[in-house]
């Protein structure tokens, strides 16, 4: 567990709802859930979740900090927005799930080897480099996500698709070296850094 996690535990003690409200994106909505369960019933992947959104909200109110933040449930969200559309109370459930996942990761509590978490990290790293997603590199990094041997195997399997894309000029092989960036890459990096600073300052302040 990270130092930040310890600080947060100290800071909020049993008031996990307040911790979520202050630190999680859209977390202030959690208290407005009326436990109707429409979100859980609407989630296409709901049955694969250990705790569907309704339960997550209840667990937050019940102060089950450890269980919520180490859960892989919110990592299962595919952002289909069914729950948001249907929630009678208008809770931005999808955003709350992502917010919880992000907060868990920041505290170092996110489950290890969770594929969505891994993908999210690869995507982020890829994105911030040039300000745009380098599809070729992202694809390749996904192939080799679980080791070199498996990467080769997957690459061989996807060979035909890759060649087809090359032929129809859907994929530029030269992107693998460097790749092109957004117009003002420096500006983009500055912007990301500033956002990160603000976010860190807020969390630090919350951590006391």
């Amino acid at each position: 567990m990270s130092e930040l996690n310890q600080q947060m535990i100290e800071q909020y003690r049993t008031r996990f709802l307040q911790e979520v409200e202050a630190n999680v994106e859209e977390g202030e909505w959690v208290k407005m859930c009326m436990q109707c369960g429409v979100c859980s019933g609407s989630c296409p992947l709901g049955k694969h979740w250990a705790h569907p959104p309704q339960e997550i909200f209840m667990m937050i109110r019940a102060g089950k900090r450890e269980e919520v933040l180490t859960s892989d449930s919110m990592w299962m969200c595919t952002s289909c927005y069914n729950c948001i559309v249907r929630c009678p109370r208008g809770l931005p459930i999808t955003h709350i799930m992502h917010g919880l996942a992000t907060y868990a990761k920041r505290l170092g509590l996110a489950p290890k080897n969770q594929p969505t978490a891994k993908f999210a990290q690869l995507f982020w790293d890829n994105l911030v480099k040039k300000g745009r997603v380098n599809e070729l590199k992202l694809g390749l990094s996904l192939y080799f996500m679980n080791g070199f041997g498996e990467g080769i195997k997957v690459a061989m399997k996807q060979q035909a698709i890759g060649l087809g894309m090359l032929r129809t000029k859907r994929m530029n092989p030269m992107e693998v070296v460097g790749g092109h960036a957004v117009k003002d890459l420096d500006g983009f990096h500055k912007m990301i850094r500033k956002a990160q600073e603000l976010e860190d300052a807020r969390i630090k302040q919350n951590a006391g």
Binding site: L17, K31, M32, M34, Q35, Q54, E55, M58, M59, R61, A62, R89
Partner: protein
């Protein structure tokens, strides 16, 4: 009187009647068999012209008995409204042409049906009298309100605003009732965010300063008698003084008694002062008056409070209330805000199984509490334990499906309302209960409500059927929660507020307005000699031939509204204004001495006789259908509108209520050669739909023995069938008649045809 009768028959040829039927033949039947003095046809009788034609005959020809052969008696009621005239309607449209197929082979039977309906319409009107108001009451613009809580005060103010006088009788020393103890109430206007002043003080001052309202505190109703328009009430004051008053109507607003939380030892009530009921919390909040609420045991400021919803309610456990009191969820939300307002950091948890916030503020108020960080947990509380200056609330989290617990300083039990009503006149007597236990028999009657703690009479009526308003369920005095609010089973006495059904103060005030309007209506109708709901405006009332009466008392016992008392000679005393005109007394009377001016044993009996019953070899059976005019008859009308076919052999006679059906009609019809009888009344069980509450049930009870009559006549018991029919049974009602036609086909024609 009979000599003064002049009969006019009117046949409409519109809506296809003229094309489908030989109306000239109908006219001849009306004149020759129906003995109408004159008969006219019109292509559209309900038009201004057609109506004028009838009115002209009334004005110029002296016609005072009108038979209209057109559409159902439930259609065109406004057009065919002739005051001071006896009126019968032959249902040729829905009853004949719309419910029979328009084909050549059916033409004969359709015409026969129409012929019979005209004969029946003529027979009915011949035996009708023009109802005259009884003149028993004058307009008495004074309403008695029993109970001086929010409901009673509001009712009195509504009555006063309408220009009537009101007298409030309150047993306590002050007005205000339970609401006077309440700190703040749920907001009644948007935004529904914060609790607001109860305004009870304002209500009290408005009542006290209103010159139309008289208030008696420390008083009770010692005796009441009479009828709407002339209730005579004795008010006894604590000082020993008694006052007599005459009132047009009575509003019972006796409110509720808080549920006794001593029945809840599992929640540590009584074991520690830190477990309180919702009403007791109001007292704590009043004491704190905006400051921190302190717990009773040691005066510590409350930092964590749990609200246990449905405490002793919605449960089938002994000593618990089986129903939801409706107000407690919103009340707990309001009370949680008391804590949050003063200390936003206070942990407030509402433990609920189903949160219900009825009324306009409901959902918004709930949201407002969520915004204030009141925690709502769906959980079932099993136990509250007091230990080491803390309370541990054990509950099952119903979302996470696990047993868990929380600690807090104060527990508030959301307990419910027990109606404060008098003894039920129809409760099974105690001896009978003992017998049942010994005999192991289970009676169909509802057991005595266990929740009714009050056995002290509230109204002290001198009615033959008991001192107080009959209970509907759980001790609440209503006659139907959905269909007839405020109506009780005693005419001219209306229930409002939590003695009618559990409710909050906002609903009680609405209730008060409703009951006040009803009370005024009853007063006015009584003065006019007219009935109130459901036969509002009816001038007829039961009369009886004293010479024929055997003093059997069936009418006094069976009247669903307790309208009939006994006089000194033990003859029935029909209090006309207390009567709802259902005719249950008429159906009950074994010697047939009770009748109404326009509805009697004869008006129906003669219709039955008027029907042409073909001989045994004609293969044309006749089926008599006695249908309740409130539900079954309109169901048949609607079936006809929808094109459902109804057996050509059926002859339908509408009755005011199945309870008014005299067994003589059934034996007479069977004796005169009818092949089958179908009786259609309303649903009669606990969720009854009978407009006269017990009419249908009484009829079913009486008719349960009709099989013996049939056996005596050596007839098959299948020839008489009794059904409960709802107004929505538009497919089933015709089917039941057609089934009887099939049955007759199977068992053969009646041997009683001449």
């Amino acid at each position: 009187m009979a000599d003064d009768k002049k009969f006019g028959g009117y046949i409409c040829t519109g809506c296809g009647i003229g094309e489908r039927l030989d109306t000239d033949q109908l006219e001849q039947i009306a004149l020759r068999e129906g003995k109408m003095n004159l008969c006219r046809q019109h292509p559209m009788l309900c038009s201004a012209e057609g109506v004028q034609m009838i009115q002209d005959d009334i004005d110029n020809e002296g016609v005072n008995h009108v038979m209209i052969a057109a559409c159902s008696r439930r259609a065109k009621v406004e057009a065919f409204n002739f005051p001071r005239v006896a009126l019968s309607r032959a249902n040729l449209r829905e009853g004949v042409i719309w419910s029979r197929p328009d084909t050549e082979e059916n033409r004969e039977t359709t015409q026969e049906k129409a012929d019979d309906y005209v004969r029946m319409g003529c027979a009915e009107v011949r035996f009708m009298e023009i109802p005259e108001p009884s003149g028993e009451q004058e307009l008495n613009k004074h309403i008695l309100v029993v109970g001086g809580g929010v409901t009673g005060m509001q009712a009195a103010l509504e009555v006063a605003e309408a220009g009537y006088n009101a007298t409030i009788v309150e047993k306590a020393a002050q007005l205000g009732g339970h609401m006077a103890q309440v700190y703040r109430r749920v907001p009644t206007r948007s935004p529904y965010v914060d609790p607001q002043d109860t305004q009870v003080a304002d209500l009290v001052s408005r009542v006290m300063s209103n010159e139309r309202i008289t208030v008696y505190t420390n008083a009770r109703v010692a005796q009441s008698s009479g009828a709407p328009g002339r209730f005579s009430v004795e008010i006894a004051r604590e000082s020993g003084e008694t006052l007599n008053g005459s009132f047009g109507a009575i509003i019972q607003a006796s409110g509720f008694k808080p549920y006794d939380a001593n029945n809840l030892p599992e929640f540590a009530y009584g074991k520690t002062p830190d477990v309180v009921t919702n009403l007791e919390l109001e007292r704590l909040a009043r004491e704190a008056d905006g400051g921190p609420i302190k717990r009773p045991s040691d005066g510590k400021e409350v930092q964590a409070v749990a609200f246990v919803q449905c405490a002793g309610q919605r449960s089938d456990k002994e000593g618990h209330l089986p129903y939801c009191s409706g107000f407690c969820c919103t009340t707990s939300i309001k009370q949680a805000m008391y804590f949050k307002q003063q200390n936003p950091g206070c942990d407030t948890t509402v433990l609920f199984t189903d949160l219900r916030t009825p009324g306009a503020p409901g959902e918004d108020f709930y949201r407002a509490a969520q915004r204030k960080e009141v925690t709502f947990s769906k959980g079932e509380v099993s136990e509250v334990v007091s230990a080491d200056g803390e309370l541990r609330v054990k509950f099952k989290d119903l979302i996470l499906n696990e047993d868990t617990e929380m600690t807090c300083d104060l527990v508030v039990l959301a307990t419910g309302q027990v109606p404060n009503t008098g003894p039920d006149p129809y409760a099974a007597p105690l001896e009978a209960e003992d017998e049942e236990e010994e005999g192991g028999e289970t009676a169909g009657e509802e057991a005595t409500p266990q929740v009714s703690v009050s056995v002290e009479s509230i109204l002290n009526l001198d009615y033959r059927q008991g001192t107080d308003l009959p209970h509907l369920r759980h001790g609440f005095v209503d006659s139907h929660f959905i269909c007839f609010p405020y109506e009780t089973r005693r005419t001219g006495i209306y229930a409002a507020g939590p003695c009618r059904r559990p409710m909050d103060s906002a609903q009680a005030r609405d209730d008060a307005a409703g009951a006040a309007m009803k009370a005024i209506q009853a007063t006015v109708h009584a003065a006019w000699g007219q009935a109130v709901h459901p036969r509002a405006g009816d001038l007829s009332f039961p009369r009886f031939r004293k010479e024929g009466c055997t003093q059997c008392k069936r009418c006094t016992v069976e009247c669903p509204f307790g309208a009939i008392n006994e006089d000194e000679e033990r003859y029935p005393q029909f209090n006309e204004a207390r009567c709802r005109r259902c005719g249950t007394c008429m159906g009950a009377c074994p010697v047939r001495v009770i009748s109404f001016a326009n509805y009697s044993i004869d008006t129906v009996g003669q219709q039955i006789k008027a029907v042409d019953v073909p001989d045994e070899y004609s293969e044309k059976p006749r089926i008599l259908v006695l249908a309740c005019e409130n539900d079954a008859y309109p169901a048949l009308d609607m079936a006809a509108m929808a094109g459902e076919e109804i057996s050509p052999w059926s002859r339908v006679v509408p009755v005011r209520c199945l309870g008014s059906v005299s067994l003589s009609w059934i034996t007479d019809s069977l004796n005169s050669g009818y092949d089958g009888v179908v009786l259609m009344g309303c649903r009669k069980d606990d969720d009854y739909q009978c407009h006269f509450v017990r009419g249908s049930a009484m009829a079913h009870e009486r008719l349960s023995k009709v099989g013996d009559t049939l056996q005596q006549l050596n007839l098959e018991t299948e020839r008489v069938a009794v059904y409960e029919v709802a107004i929505t049974d538009t497919k089933r009602a015709p089917q039941l008649i057609n089934d009887m036609a099939k049955t007759v086909d199977e068992i053969g024609m009646s041997p009683f045809k001449f």
